[in-house]
C-alpha cells in the first residue's frame, strides 16, 4: 500500500470514526434527557409527595395510654385495681423468620392455638410500624422461666409488663363493676382518635363498660424517629395522656356483702338505694361470677361460667323482667285515689273470687275464701286481689298504662350500667302488635295484681319504692358518686302527685303490712325494731288452670312463683329503699321480706 492510499484510508477511517462517535452519542443524549426529566419530576415537581413519604418512613407516632382509672367505694377503699402481669410480645418487622420463631415459641411455651390465631389476625390490623403484637397475654411463672433461659434465640421477642384488672373482692361486686374483655375490630375503628391497642382490654359489662371512655383516660403520643430497622433514634416530641380519674361508687360494702350472702343458693336480685339521692347502696344479682376470670382470661373458669344454665352473667337487677305482682298495688291505689274512683272508705266484699261480667271468666284471690270486706288500707295490708281486680276494671287499661309509664315503667331508669331493660307496660296496641289478638277485660284485671303482660325490672321497682319513701319524688338511680374529684349530682326522675293525706294513709297501710298482725309481711315484724314500710308480692310464673292446684305446680321448681318485696325505712325519715326478688322463691313474705329486713337492720344499726 502506498503512502497516498494509506493516507486516504486513514482519513476515511477518521471520518467513519467521527460518524460513529456522533451515532453513539445520540443514545447518551436521549438517556440524559430521560434522566433529567425524571430528576425534575422527582425533586422539583413531586418533591412534596416524596418529602411526605420520607417523613412517614422515619417518624412513628406511638400512642401512650393512661393507666386505667381505679374503682373505689364511698370510703375510698379499692374495689378494682390494676396489677402487673407479664406478657410476651413480638415485633414482626424485626423477626427474620416469623413462621419458624412462632413454631419454636409455641413449642417451648405451649402457647395455645387460640393465641397464635389471635396473633395472626392482629398482624394485618396494626396501627403503626413496628407495633409489637402480643403473643401471650398472661405469662405463667413457668413460661417466664422457660423463655428467659432461651431468650437469645428470638431477639425480636420480649417480655413486657402488662396492667390487668384485679377485682379485690372477687365476685362481691361482679354485676356492678362488670368485667373486661378483648377489644374487637369495631371498638378500635369506633374509638376515633383514641385508637385502642390491638391487645387492649375494654369494659364489656357493668361500670367497666358504662364508664369505659372515662376509665381509659385520654391517649398521649410519643413521636419518635426510627431507622429502617425500627430502632429508636431519638424522641421528637411527647404528649402525655391525662390521668384517668378514679370512680367512687356509692355502694356500702357491708350492705352489699349481706345482700350477696343472703342470695347465695338462690337466684334473683337485691337492690338497696338511698331514696333521697338515688345513689345505690347495694346491688346484687345472683348467681354471679368472679370478674377476675374474665380480666385475666382464665379459660377453664370462663368455660364453666358460659355453660352455667343459671346465667351468672345475666344482670337480673337491671335486665331481669319480672311481673311486679302485688308490689304494684300501692301505685294502682294511688292512681284510683287520684282519679277519684275510690277513697279510703270505699270497700269491696272479697270472697276470694272475682268474675268478669263480660265473659264470665273467674279470677281467684290468693287467699281461699277471701278477706271479707276490704277497704284500700286493708287491701294493701292483706294484699287483697279481689279489691284490685275491681279497681283495675274501674281504671281501664289506658289509665293504668299511662300512669305506670309516667312512673318509670316501660322505660329504662338510666342507671349507670349496661344492658338495662325496659320491661313492659301493655295496652291494647301493644297486645295487638305482640300477639295479634285484641285486648280482653281479663287482661286489665290481671294487671290489677301486677300479673299478665306487665313486667318490670328490679331497678324500676326500687325506684318506685323510693318514690313512696319520698312521698312523691323519685331520683335516677346511680352507682357512681364521684368521678375523680367531681361529685355526681342527683337527678329527679319523676314525681307521683297526690294529696298529703293520701301519702300519710298510704304509708300507714305499707307500715301495717309489716306491723299489723294481719299484714302479709308481719313475719319480719319486731316490736322494738326499726319502723319500715313495704309491700310483698308473689309473682306467678305460670297461670293456674282451673282444675290445677298450686301444690302440683310447686313440685316443679321452674314453675314456682317468684317472691318479691319492696320496702323503705326507717319511718319517718327513710334513708333506704329496697327491692328483693327471689326467683321461684314462692313467697314474698316468707322469702323476700326477711332478706330486706336483714339489710334494713344492718344499715340502720350502722348509721346509729
Amino acid at each position: 500500500m502506498d503512502e497516498i492510499s494509506n493516507f486516504d484510508q486513514k482519513k476515511k477511517n477518521f471520518s467513519l470514526y467521527k460518524r460513529r462517535v456522533i451515532l453513539l452519542s445520540i443514545p447518551f443524549l436521549v438517556m440524559f434527557l430521560v434522566f433529567f426529566l425524571q430528576i425534575l419530576n422527582l425533586s422539583v415537581f413531586n418533591n412534596s409527595i416524596y418529602a411526605t413519604a420520607s417523613e412517614n418512613n422515619r417518624i412513628i407516632n406511638i400512642p401512650i395510654y393512661s393507666t386505667r382509672g381505679l374503682i373505689r367505694d364511698e370510703n375510698e377503699n379499692l374495689i378494682v385495681e390494676n396489677i402487673v402481669h407479664q406478657k410476651l410480645i413480638i415485633v414482626p418487622e424485626k423477626t427474620i423468620d416469623l413462621a419458624t420463631s412462632l413454631l419454636e415459641l409455641q413449642d417451648l411455651l405451649s402457647i395455645s392455638d387460640g393465641d397464635i390465631l389471635f396473633f395472626k389476625r392482629s398482624l394485618s390490623k396494626r396501627t403503626y410500624k413496628y407495633e409489637p403484637i402480643t403473643l401471650v397475654r398472661n405469662l405463667s411463672p413457668e413460661q417466664v422461666a422457660k423463655y428467659s433461659i432461651n431468650k437469645e434465640r428470638w431477639p425480636s421477642v420480649r417480655i413486657e409488663a402488662n396492667l390487668v384488672r384485679q377485682a379485690l373482692d372477687g365476685p362481691l361486686y361482679s354485676h356492678i363493676i362488670g368485667y373486661m374483655g378483648q377489644v374487637d375490630t369495631d371498638n378500635i375503628s369506633e374509638s376515633g382518635d383514641f385508637k385502642y391497642k390491638l391487645d387492649a382490654l375494654i369494659g364489656k359489662a357493668g361500670i367497666e363498660k358504662f364508664y369505659e371512655n372515662i376509665l381509659r383516660g385520654s391517649v398521649g403520643y410519643k413521636t419518635v424517629e426510627a431507622d429502617v430497622h425500627g430502632a429508636l433514634v431519638r424522641q421528637l416530641s411527647k404528649v402525655d395522656p391525662l390521668k384517668a380519674p378514679d370512680l367512687f361508687l356509692s355502694i356500702d360494702k357491708d350492705l352489699q356483702s349481706i345482700a350477696r350472702e343472703s342470695m347465695i343458693g338462690k337466684s334473683g336480685a337485691v337492690i338497696a338505694m338511698d331514696p333521697k339521692s338515688g345513689f345505690i347502696k347495694a346491688l346484687v344479682s345472683f348467681p354471679d361470677y368472679d370478674p377476675v376470670t374474665f380480666n385475666q382470661g382464665q379459660q377453664e373458669s370462663l368455660k364453666a361460667i358460659m355453660q352455667n344454665k343459671n346465667s351468672p352473667l345475666f344482670n337480673r337487677a337491671v335486665s331481669g323482667k319480672y311481673p311486679p305482682a302485688s308490689t304494684i298495688k300501692p301505685f294502682l291505689g294511688l292512681l284510683g285515689l287520684n282519679k277519684s274512683l275510690i277513697d279510703w272508705g270505699t270497700s269491696v266484699e272479697d270472697n276470694g273470687v272475682f268474675q268478669v261480667k263480660e265473659d264470665g271468666r273467674v279470677f281467684k284471690g290468693w287467699k281461699e275464701g277471701g278477706h271479707g270486706e276490704v277497704n284500700l288500707t286493708k287491701a294493701i295490708t292483706e294484699s287483697s286481689d279481689v279489691y284490685f281486680y275491681n279497681l283495675a276494671l274501674k281504671l281501664k287499661i289506658n289509665e293504668i298504662s299511662d300512669f305506670l309509664k309516667s312512673i318509670g315503667f316501660n322505660s329504662i331508669t338510666g342507671i349507670d350500667l349496661d344492658n338495662e331493660q325496659t320491661g313492659t307496660v301493655p295496652d291494647q296496641n301493644w297486645k295487638l302488635g305482640q300477639t295479634g289478638s285484641s285486648w280482653y277485660v281479663g287482661d286489665t284485671v290481671n294487671i290489677g295484681i301486677g300479673q299478665g303482660y306487665l313486667t318490670a325490672t328490679p331497678i324500676q321497682l326500687v325506684v318506685a319504692a323510693s318514690a313512696l319513701a319520698n312521698k312523691g319524688k323519685a331520683y335516677k338511680p346511680k352507682l357512681v358518686k364521684r368521678i375523680g374529684s367531681n361529685q355526681v349530682k342527683k337527678e329527679l326522675l319523676y314525681t307521683i302527685e297526690t294529696s298529703k293525706e293520701n301519702w300519710t294513709k298510704m304509708e300507714d297501710a305499707l307500715i301495717s303490712v309489716i306491723s299489723s298482725w294481719n299484714g302479709t309481711a308481719h313475719n319480719i315484724y319486731e316490736l322494738d325494731g326499726n319502723r319500715i314500710a313495704g309491700k310483698t308480692g308473689t309473682a306467678q310464673t305460670s297461670s293456674l288452670q282451673e282444675e290445677e292446684e298450686y301444690s302440683v305446680i310447686r313440685a316443679e321448681s321452674s314453675r314456682r312463683d317468684h317472691a318479691l318485696f319492696i320496702g323503705y325505712g326507717p319511718i319517718p325519715d327513710p334513708s333506704l329503699a329496697i327491692v328483693v326478688i327471689v326467683e321461684y322463691g314462692e313467697s314474698g313474705s316468707a322469702v323476700a321480706a326477711p332478706i330486706a329486713k336483714k339489710l334494713f337492720d344492718s344499715y340502720f344499726t350502722k348509721k346509729l
Binding site: M1, N6, Q9, K10, N13, F14, L16, Y17, K18, R20, V21, L24, F28, M31, F32, V34, F35, Q38, I39, L40, L42, S43, V44, N46, N47, I49, Y50, A51, A53, S54, E55, N57, R58, E225, A226, D227, V228, H229, V233
Partner: protein, 379 residues
Amino acid sequence: MARLRPLEHTLNTRLGEVPYSKKLSSILVDIPLILSLIVTLVFGLFILYSASGQSDLMITRQGIYVIFGIILMISIAQLQAKTYQDMATHLIWVAISLLVIVLIFPAEGYKTNRWIDLGFISFQPSEIVRLMLPLSIASFLTRKRTRLLLKDWLIVVLAIFVCSFLVIKQPDLGTSIIIIIAGFLPVFLAGFPLFYLFSFFLIFFLMSPFLWGALKEYQQQRIITLFNPDVDPLGAGWNISQSKTAIGSGGISGKGYLEGTQSQLDFIPESHSDFIFAVLGEEFGFIGILFLIILYAFIFYRSLKIALNSKSEFGRVLVGSLTFIFMVYVFINILMVVGIIPVVGVPLPLISQGGTSMLIHLLSFGFILSIKRSNYDIN
C-alpha cells in the same frame, strides 16, 4: 500542525530544561481532565462519608484507593502507546483465564462467585476484564492497516460473548451487560459494518425469550419490578421506591450534608455503593445532582476530545471506547437509582465505595492520558 507541541513534551529527553509548570503539565498530560477527576473523587469521598454512616474506616480505605488510583493513573499516563499496543491483543487470554479461575476458585464468604482472593487482596476479575477487553479488541482490530475481514469481526464477537457468558455464570447480570458493551464499543468505533451489527441485534432480539429463560429468578424479578415497583414496596421494589423517595424528598437544595433522613436512617439500601447517588440527591438536592452531572459531562468532553485528537487509530478506538464505557457506567447507575432501568448492581463511577471499580476507572483514564501523551511523540 499547530496543535502539536514541540519536543519538550517528550518526558524522556530534556525534561530538565523546561519550566516547572510545563514539567507538571507534561507529567499530568491533561490538567483540566485530572482536576475534574480529582474534584469528583473528593466530592465522592464526602458523599461516601455521609452514606457510610460517617464511618472513618470506610473513608480511610476509600481514600487510600483514591490516592493509589491517582498514582496508578498518572503512572500509566507516562506510557507510550506503542509499548503496549501490540501486546494488548493477548490480554483477551488473560481475561478469559481470570474469568475461568474465578468460577473454579471463588473467594469464600460471598454469595456469588465474583471475587478472587489472593490472600492480601481480593478483587473482582470481571472489573479488570472490562478494561482488558477494549484494550485487547482495539489492539486486535487496528493491528493491520488493511481492511478488516469478516473473520476478524467474528473472532472478536466470539471473544466478547465468551467473556460475557463467563460473567453471567458468576452470576452477575449487570457486569455481563457492561462486558458486552465494553466489547462492542471498540468494535463499533473501529467501523464494524452496520449491516452485521443490525444482524446481530436481530438475532439477539429473536433469542431474547430464550435468554429470559436463562436468567435467574431474581434477575427476572428485578426486571419485572422495574416496570411496577409499587406492587410490593417492601419486597423487590423497596430499593427503587426508597431511592426515589430519597431523591424526591431532597428537593432543589437538599436536606443538608449528613442531614438526609433516608440516608442516615438506613432507608436507602446499599447507600454507600450502588445507591450512593440517592444519598447525593437527598442531601444536596437537585443542585448537587446537577453539579455531579456537570463534572461527568466535563470529564466526558475532555476524554472525547483526546479521542478525536488521537493520531493513531488504536488511540482513537481505545479512548473512545473507554470514554463511552465510563459514561455507560454513569448512566446505568443513575438511571437505575432514579427508577428508569432495573436494579443491576453497577456502582457509580468514582463515587461508590469499592476498590476494584475505582482503580479500574482511574486505570482507564491512565490509558486515555497515555494516548494523549503518545500523540506528541508521534511527531
